[in-house]
């Protein structure tokens, strides 16, 4: 069916869904390993694995679906039989291996190698075998638990005793199911076919309405209008079927009711009794009654109220969001173009001003809304790190605990994309270089397990991500020597500790002699630096020998629109972000303090002495206004340091859309970007933190 039904949007959907589901599954698997239990999440796992299986089967990726199927088998056994001897660690291993495989195949599909080749074929089989081995290992012992199961979970006994019997004994209960799909989910016929496909293993389908769904475009509208009706026979209980069907994707409503239940029960009982006798010498008199019970229960519950599986989330193509963002940017520029039009100057326009304020308010709200759409919690990225820590601690034989703080901090989607790699490299580094062996740790009087902390927090307009470890810290001298060896630092250069630590971000720099699987080529930290540069962030290192290292990534919350104050310096106009401005005032001659030896000017403000920075000198702009009392002082704050900027005059407040400087110009000190004004001219945006560096 591959060629017949596959189209791009379906494939895209498949890739998207599967990737999402897999990362969910990964998290659950890691959780279960940690807490050594799966009870609470098993249904979630089931839903995920099942959906993967279903959609993979629909897309004809048989390897994935058969893999998911065997995973399902394993989880089915765990759910139904509650075995007490589950080794969650090896279960997680198996699950993670499957996840990796699926990830791999999905990546191959994504990159256009559509059909998995023979190698992945055999790999899939290998993993399937592994799962089966795991399952049989589980089943090998559970005899002890069998009686307990019978006592408290009668229904499952049936499947527990003999799975074959279960399969043969299909058709006790006949059901009629009516599925309605969500409006606009598209490809209803294929979705219906997918449902049938999923049911194949558990039920005998008697009839469907409309019949013959696959390949028949006309059925789409019919399903849209009347829903998709299936009559089938199964030996599963009403509840099981309900669960099974409600996991269908894009399901709006589900009606499920037994058909001719009374007649069926009788038959079912007889069948069941015979089967039980035939297949199992251990007669179980409880069983038929239980069966009757369950069906009766189903009967009383029917007709059921429609099960509403409502989806409140939609996935949107990021490109569309980017486009929207750009448009909002243009909107803001156009708004300023109208409101600040030079033709309006000097006119008294009360109504116009009122209306323009209203407009500004609305555009502000639009902006916030668009922004918030693009904001995603960082937890997804953080949670990926669990996996890395787990894998590495196994391979390096170090015990490491990862602690996550503030994972709900929200960051722009574009920014997040550039975070995964740096975080991964930093954590790898921490674990490989930072955290010591268990022996060394105990000798140093530290707990045997290392701690890696990942913390995210908002700090003004920035988000700080701090990666801390309690390892041995950076070796200052080793780094310095290595840097001198490689000619990165001159022999007689004096460097501060921070300077030296920052050397680790240089490409190709590594103090490791040996290249290991995880580090040593000096690439990782360069990746960090590169990614930070791309999103306008910074990476700072701090380290105390013997106590640990912390790397702080400072990244801007968003890259888009800021409130700015326009100030005039000479002929140029600079925009200073409002968030860093404390106040502005005209200076009084008497409060100026001159420090002749340093040739610096200061100002006394409410008993505090603050340094003055002349913007025209800093930016090297010719300006007529050089006397302090003729211009204006703008007090700015950055990282709790205060400076007074001297400019010719303040023009006014404006929202500006931050655009990056052209690549050609590289970094300019004290400038973080530029923006287009209402009249089409370009203004530079001051980087306040840059003004503090000298």
């Amino acid at each position: 069916m591959n060629g017949e039904y596959t189209n791009d949007s379906m494939l895209e959907m498949f890739i998207y869904e599967t990737t999402e589901l897999i990362s969910q599954l990964e998290n659950i698997a890691l959780d279960s390993e940690e807490s050594n239990a799966l009870e609470t999440q098993i249904n979630e796992v089931f839903r995920i694995v099942h959906t993967i299986k279903g959609s993979a089967a629909m897309m004809d990726y048989n390897n994935i679906s058969s893999l998911a199927h065997s995973l399902e088998d394993a989880f089915y056994y765990i759910r139904e039989n509650h075995p007490q001897n589950v080794d969650y660690s090896s279960l997680t291993d198996v699950v993670l291996r499957s996840i990796d495989y699926i990830k791999n195949v999905v990546a191959m599909i994504q990159s256009g190698t559509s059909q998995p080749d023979a190698q992945t074929d055999s790999e899939a089989k290998e993993i399937v075998k592994e799962i089966k081995d795991f399952l049989s290992l589980l089943k090998g012992v559970p005899v002890v638990e069998e009686p307990k199961n019978e006592a408290n979970n009668v229904e499952s006994t049936n499947s527990g005793i003999d799975e074959d019997a279960q399969k043969e004994a299909s058709g006790e209960n006949e059901f009629m199911a009516l599925l309605c799909f969500e409006d606009g989910c598209e490809m209803e016929n294929i979705r219906a076919f997918n449902v049938l496909n999923n049911l194949e293993n558990v039920v005998d389908v008697i009839s469907t309405s409309p019949p013959k769904v696959p390949g028949n475009e006309n059925t789409i509208s019919e399903i849209k209008q009347n829903g998709f009706e299936i009559r089938f026979k199964t030996d599963l209980s009403f509840e099981d079927m309900k669960n099974h069907l409600s996991s269908t994707l894009f399901l709006k409503e589900l009606y499920l009711e037994p058909v001719n239940a009374e007649n069926e029960i009788q038959q079912a009982n007889e069948n069941q009794e015979e089967k039980a006798k035939e297949n199992n010498s251990q007669t179980n008199t409880e069983k038929p009654e239980a069966r009757t019970d369950s069906v009766a229960k189903a009967q009383t519950a029917s007709p059921v109220a429609p099960v509403n599986v409502k989806q409140s989330m939609i996935s949107v193509n990021l490109e569309k969001l980017d486009k929207l963002m750009d448009l909002v940017g243009e909107l803001v520029i156009s708004q300023e173009m109208v409101v600040q039009n030079s033709e309006l100057e000097g006119l008294i326009l009360n109504d116009f001003n009122k209306a323009s304020r209203q407009l500004r308010k609305v555009t502000n709200e639009i902006q916030d809304a668009v922004m918030s759409i693009r904001m995603v919690p960082i937890s997804g990225t953080f949670n990926k790190m669990h996996r890395i820590v787990r894998d590495m601690s196994k391979k390096l034989e170090k015990e490491v605990k990862l602690e996550i703080i503030g994972e709900n901090t929200e960051v722009d989607k574009n920014v997040i994309e550039h975070l995964t790699d740096p975080l991964m490299h930093i954590i790898r580094n921490s674990m490989d270089h930072g955290i010591e062996n268990v022996d060394d740790r105990l000798k140093a009087g530290k707990p045997s397990f290392g701690n890696v902390t990942l913390e995210a927090k908002d700090e003004g307009g920035d988000v700080c991500i701090i990666i801390r470890d309690d390892g041995k810290g950076l070796d200052r001298d080793k780094i310095l020597n290595k840097a001198k060896e490689q000619g990165l630092v001159k022999e007689n250069e004096t460097l501060t500790d921070t300077d030296i630590y920052s050397l680790i971000f240089l490409p190709g720099f590594s103090t490791k002699k040996q290249v290991t699987e995880f580090s040593g080529r000096g690439v990782g930290m360069d990746v960090v630096n590169n990614n930070m540069e791309k999103i306008g962030g910074k990476a700072l290192v701090d380290s105390t020998p013997g106590v640990g290292t912390s790397i702080t990534l400072k990244i801007p919350l968003t890259l888009a629109i800021i409130e700015g104050m326009k100030v005039k310096v000479g002929k140029s106009i600079f925009v200073i972000p409002i968030t860093s401005i404390k106040e502005s005032f005209r200076v009084d001659e008497s409060s100026i303090v001159l420090d002749d030896c340093n040739n610096s000017e200061m100002i006394m403000l409410r008993g505090e002495c603050l340094p003055i920075l002349r913007l025209h000198e800093f930016y090297n702009v010719k300006s007529e206004t050089t006397k302090l009392k003729e211009g204006i002082i703008i007090v700015v704050e950055n990282e709790s340091k205060i400076k007074c900027l001297f400019a010719d005059k303040v023009i006014g407040e404006q929202q500006v859309v931050v655009k990056a400087l052209p690549k050609y110009i590289k970094n300019v000190k004290g400038i973080c970007g530029c923006t287009v004004m209402g009249d089409g001219s370009v203004c530079l945006i001051s980087d306040v933190s840059g003004l503090f560096k000298n």
């Binding site: 110009i665 000190k669 287009v676």
Partner: protein, 166 residues
Amino acid sequence: MTELEREVLNNDIKEDTQKGKYLTFFIEKVVYAIEIKFVTEIIGIQPITEIPEVPSYVKGIINLRGKIIPVMDVRIRFKKEPIEYNDRTCIIVVEVNDISLGLIVDNVSEVLEIADENIVIPPDMNKGMENKYIKEIGKVDNCVNLILSCEKLINDNEVEALSQIV
């Protein structure tokens, strides 16, 4: 024919029609030429926003329909005396290696076709500063056109060296 093949062919045709064509412009009565394939458009002089701490020949940035591009004064680049911009002054917008850049020139002359056999490698003088930007010399009707290397004009070590210091 697959999409890819068609695209390749289209590019070939495009290359073909642009091959051997050069845009010529004047700087202080000397004719320079650049390959037409680099040229995006020619615009009149615009208000330029100056940028601190860049080499003097980088005049600043301009807003080209929402796209911000840097502009370079080719005069100053060739160590010639700057002149006031007038209505003949043009900005040639070029795109080289994904970098868009505006070149400020005295005025733009014409698009010339120069056959391959009329193009020669410049004599090795090792003296003049401008020599390093001149890739080839094209002869058209007894006139000599200095064909500039756009790559060298843009990717120069001076800017990089400067940013290192900063």
